[in-house]
C-alpha cells in the first residue's frame, strides 16, 4: 500500500485531478520532486495493489442529468448478506454497496447500496427491477433520497500523514469527492 511520504505527496497531488495538458504526469512530478517516470511507476503500483480502486474519469452525475440519488438500506439475514451484496453489486444501476453494522432497536439495516437515476421514478423502477431479479421482496428496506447537499469534497488524505513525515505535506486542494462513502 502506501510505502513512504512520497506516496502520500503523490496521492495529495493527484486527488484533485490531473491537469488537462499534453504531459500531465510530468507536471505532477515537478510539483512533488519526482521524475515523470517515477510518478507513473508509483501510480501503477498503487493501482495494482488496490489502494487506487479506479484511475480515470470521474463523472458528475448531477451535471449529466442524474438528479435523483437514493441510498437504499436493507435488513438481510447475516448468513446471506455477503451473497446478496455481491449479487446486487453486479447490476449496472447499483453504484456502491457496503455492509454496515445494525443498531438493534434503532436501525435494523445491514446492507447499503446507492442508485442514481434521472428522476425519482427512474430510481424506483430500477429498485423494483433489482428486487424482482434478486428476490429481495421479503426483506425490509428503506429508500433515502438525498435532499440537500451541505458539503461534498475530497477526503484530505495528506492531513492523515501529519506527524509521520515531519509534517512536510503539501496542502491538498479540496472540492471533489475522492473516497466515496467510507
Amino acid at each position: 500500500m502506501i510505502e513512504d511520504a512520497k506516496d502520500f505527496a503523490l496521492i495529495a497531488a493527484v486527488q484533485a485531478g490531473l491537469p488537462v495538458a499534453a504531459r500531465p504526469y510530468a507536471l505532477i512530478a515537478e510539483k512533488i520532486g519526482l521524475t515523470e517516470g517515477q510518478v507513473l511507476e508509483r501510480l501503477q503500483r498503487l493501482r495494482q495493489c488496490g489502494l487506487i480502486k479506479r484511475w480515470g474519469v470521474v463523472v458528475q452525475h448531477r451535471a449529466l442529468g442524474y438528479r435523483a440519488n437514493a441510498m437504499i438500506v436493507m435488513d438481510i439475514p447475516d448468513s446471506q448478506v455477503d451473497q446478496v451484496g455481491r449479487l446486487i453489486s453486479r447490476y449496472d444501476c447499483v453504484n456502491l454497496c457496503y455492509q454496515r453494522p445494525r443498531y438493534p432497536g434503532v436501525w435494523p439495516y445491514n446492507l447499503y447500496c446507492m442508485i442514481h437515476g434521472k428522476s425519482r421514478d427512474a430510481v424506483w423502477v430500477q429498485w423494483q427491477h433489482l428486487q424482482d431479479e434478486c428476490q429481495l421482496q421479503a426483506y425490509p428496506f428503506e429508500m433515502l433520497f438525498s435532499a440537500r447537499c451541505f458539503k461534498q469534497r475530497g477526503a484530505q488524505y495528506a492531513r492523515l500523514n501529519q506527524g509521520a513525515t515531519n509534517g512536510a505535506n503539501p496542502q491538498i486542494p479540496t472540492s471533489n469527492p475522492v473516497a466515496a462513502y467510507g
Partner: protein, 152 residues
Amino acid sequence: MKLSPLHKRLLNDFQQDFPLSSAPFNEIAQQLGVDEEQVLDAFAELTECNAISRIGPVITPNAIGKSALVAMAIPDHDLERVAAVVSAIPQVNHNYERENRFNLWFVLIAEDKNRLDELVARIELQTGYSAMVLPMLADYFIDLGFELDLHD
C-alpha cells in the same frame, strides 16, 4: 452544453483505466482516431461544464486512515445549524440531508479509530444530538465507473 460524440466517448470509455503513460491524451487520441488537440479541448470543455469532477483516483475505503458513515436524527428546525457545525469539521466530507427520520448523513475520515471516536464525541457535544456510527464492514462493489445513458 450539447455533448458531441467525442465528449460521450471520453466520458464513458476512460473511467476505469485512463492511460498511465507519458502522453495519455495523445494515446486516447490515437485510440479514437482524432488529434491530441481535440481530446485536450474536449476534456477542458467537460471540466468547464462540470460534466466531470476530475481525471484521477478513486481510493479504496479505509486504505488510508479510518472512515465511517455517520447518521443523525435532527429536528427540522435545527437541521441547518447542526449541518453547519458538521460541515465545518475538516475531516467531514459528503454531508447530505436525506429523507428519513435519520436526516443527516456524512462521512468522517480520521487517522485511526481512536481519532474517529473523538471526532464523533466532539460532534455530539457540540450539537447536542447523538450520532449513529456506521463503519464499513464489507465492500461488495467493484468500481468500474458509471455507465451513462447519453441518448437523451
